[in-house]
Symmetry: C2
Subunit: 463 residues, 2 copies
């Protein structure tokens, strides 16, 4: 007999079809008329399918009337028009119980559980409405990311997770090693002898695939990375993870304006796909999590992003008369309160800030003719602040080497990166988007730990 997903079985076009549905019981309700209503979910959509099981079924008394939340079932029957709120229901001709879920023990009972509590049950939380919806929207955004870049002729490039170099020059990194931590081998000078480690040298988890993506962009034109990146920061906030997924496009011959165009089109595409391809899940988030989330996304999709030089942003902030906790002056790094003032109060929409002071940005950003600013850009959105950071890259050999020395980096250690400017250098630009920040923004979920399947934060590596 044909298998039907619950998503398909809820479609009125399947009325009359005999089929099997398979999933997990959410609730059971017995009617006095000698039958039971069973709500079953299989993860293909937010909604359940209502099953009508009557007492003529052989296992009605000893199995069906014992079904509780979490039990797994295969149910044969015919899809019927429903008299209730949903279009269809299934009249069961056979109910097979695969696994029970003792209601005395099964944690997910009908009462609502806090997201904190559900983090302890990370192996069961995808069975809830909220986490099922997060999983579907996250999946939709991931596919939207690939579609966006593939349609534009970008190549997906896997940059390494384990690396001996440090992209930012200052990231807090996790060490990767196979040496015995109880008694590490020592060299004659008493220091740890990394020539005896797996990679013959100190190695770390990457903080960004950018530098390696530049290698591919300066050979093959348009590329993007999409993979896990790591920060060993001891940050216990609702916006930080030690392990998160990042998307980093890098494009040869693009300047900062092209980069802004790409970032704007990219954000609009993933927001628009979430709204169009996950309407039920998005309605759920709008109803239960954040009542402004659909309106906010739609507004961004329909808007033109403001493009504002850093210097003008400082003038706006100084003229605002607003009492900021952190004082504003040219040369300072903008704080969240400043970014939110610009997007939420002054412009009421997304803003791309660009041409930041060179002193607060890394060595690889292109130095403008003024000698004071670099072609950096940050995309700011209401409520979240920075969601994308990027730049045109410094493609002039001498300027790059001089900027590296200014920041106490040895060009020799980055010999391969420097070579990209030595042989056939080209203008190029790229940016990074943290996937989880994007999923948080789209779903309205408060805590970033609730938009990744198994969050890694200080003290948390279970599951």
């Amino acid at each position: 007999m044909e298998k039907l997903s619950i998503s398909d079985a809820r479609n009125p076009e399947t009325i009359g079809v005999n089929a099997v549905i398979q999933g997990w019981v959410r609730t059971r309700r017995d009617s006095k008329g000698g039958f039971s209503f069973i709500e079953v979910n299989d993860g293909t959509c937010l909604a359940n399918l209502q099953i009508i099981a009557d007492n003529t079924l052989g296992n009605y008394e000893d199995e069906i009337k014992r079904l509780t939340a979490g039990c797994s079932v295969s149910i044969e029957g015919q899809v019927k028009e429903s008299g209730g709120k949903q279009a269809t229901e299934l009249l069961a001709s056979n109910v097979i119980v695969h696994g029970w879920a003792d209601p005395e023990e099964y944690p997910l009972q009908k009462k609502r559980h806090s997201f904190e509590k559900l983090r302890e049950w990370a192996h069961l939380r995808p069975r809830t409405n909220a986490f099922g919806a997060v999983a579907r929207v996250r999946n939709c955004i991931c596919q939207s990311i690939h579609d966006f870049y593939q349609e534009r002729g970008f190549l997906y490039v896997h940059t390494p997770v384990i690396t001996a170099s440090d992209c930012e020059g200052a990231g807090e990194m996790f060490r990767v090693s196979t040496i015995d931590p109880a008694s590490p081998p020592k060299a004659d000078n008493g220091e740890v002898d990394y020539t005896q480690d797996f990679f013959d040298r100190p190695s770390y988890l990457t903080v960004s695939g950018q530098l390696e993506a530049e290698i591919y962009a300066t050979a093959l034109g348009k590329v993007y990375t999409f993979g896990p990146t790591f920060r060993a920061e001891n940050s216990n906030t609702s916006r930080h993870l030690a392990e998160f997924w990042m998307i980093e496009p890098e494009v040869a011959f693009n300047d900062l304006n092209d980069n802004m165009d790409l970032a704007e089109a990219f954000l609009k595409r993933i927001f628009s796909d979430a709204l169009q391809k996950c309407p039920q899940d998005m309605e759920f988030f709008n109803l239960r999590i954040d009542e402004t989330v659909i309106e906010t996304l739609q507004k961004i999709v329909d808007s033109e992003f403001v493009r504002l030089p850093y210097t003008e942003a400082i003038e706006i902030l100084l003229a605002s008369g607003h009492a900021f906790q952190f004082p504003v002056e040219w040369g300072c790094d903008l704080q969240s309160e400043h970014e939110r003032y610009l997007t939420e109060q002054h412009f009421d929409g997304p803003v791309i800030l660009y041409d930041y002071p060179s002193t607060i940005k890394p060595f690889y950003m292109y130095v403008n003719d003024d000698g004071k600013t670099v072609r950096a850009m940050d995309v700011l959105v209401p409520k979240v602040g920075e969601i994308i950071g990027g730049s045109q890259r410094e493609d002039r050999l001498q300027v790059l080497e001089s900027r590296m020395r200014d920041q106490d980096l040895e060009p020799e250690e980055y010999w391969w990166y420097v070579d990209l400017r030595r042989y056939g250098t080209v203008p190029h630009a790229g940016f990074g988007l943290g996937l989880e920040r994007a999923v948080q923004f789209v779903t309205g979920m408060q805590n970033i730990r609730d938009v990744i399947p198994f969050p890694r934060t200080p003290g948390n590596a279970e599951f």
Copy 2:
């Protein structure tokens, strides 16, 4: 002026168009007639575009006639019909040189370099024909993977890279840590005090996302992972990497037969997409790397995979009269020579072996009624041997716990995995495909280090 990719500019439909092309010079040849032919590649296809630059151009003598391999250029001009082997060429009206590549220093000169040598220049090798083709075919396979699962309603799930558990119970794992390796904190008993490490416990890089994927499959039905996995094995072979990408689908309510159907359809899809979507690159591999590669792939796409119980495979091997280096008897793990005999000599095509002895397989595989075998499967292909390994998972609580104890594992340490069998357990199955093995098979490349952008192997973590 419109930008055209070289792939598009080689299409006769663009004849007559005025456009800019941008890329890197491969060769330059000067004609006595007062003009030069410049071959330019931009990574969008294997082929170059031929540029005609004549001596009326302002920078003809001092720049154009100095162009050598690796120089980067933007060239304006008109696409013309070509008299040569290619359909089109570009008549230049303006040539801008962005970056030079001193022929005395630039490593990629016209002579052919060995793949070993090119590994030392991993930052330049994507500029060669072979590595450009690998990058495009790898990208094609990645998108094919996503398309295959998305079209079938699977959800893409990101399982963690950093984990405190060990999927196989026996993998050699990399430790992830932030403690000072020179003087690690010690507990009172003299052992390393991991409560002072970032995650409060010993943590590692994952060897597989399977166990976590099972969590999502037993909540949402059909899922797949696609991410980096790690092995700290000291293997310096042409088939092993310390860091590689793996695809692991996991499906609730699937049994071993469904699993075989999925694996067969999946392999056929990615092979077929590579042949159809990258015909030029595949012809290159067939011509330069392995003259059987297109025929082999097409044969697999057109074949029906043989499905053979392990016990029958042993009988075939014993009856073969073939002198194997490793002796064959029921209960032994098959070696590469045995697998290759079956696929290359006996069946001359792909074979799915299944129902392996329980003693040689991990705890999570479903035990058959005979008590001696488990519902494991390996997909074997000619020349490579095993390309996919998978199983139906043990979904019976007591059997699983007993199998774990047999293999000296504590069910309590896997409490969340065991819970999946305690609450609403269902039959389910899945498998793993190593991306790089698949790319090796499709391209015919001999060494796995040449099908991943930046290979990690013992002693190698540069770039």
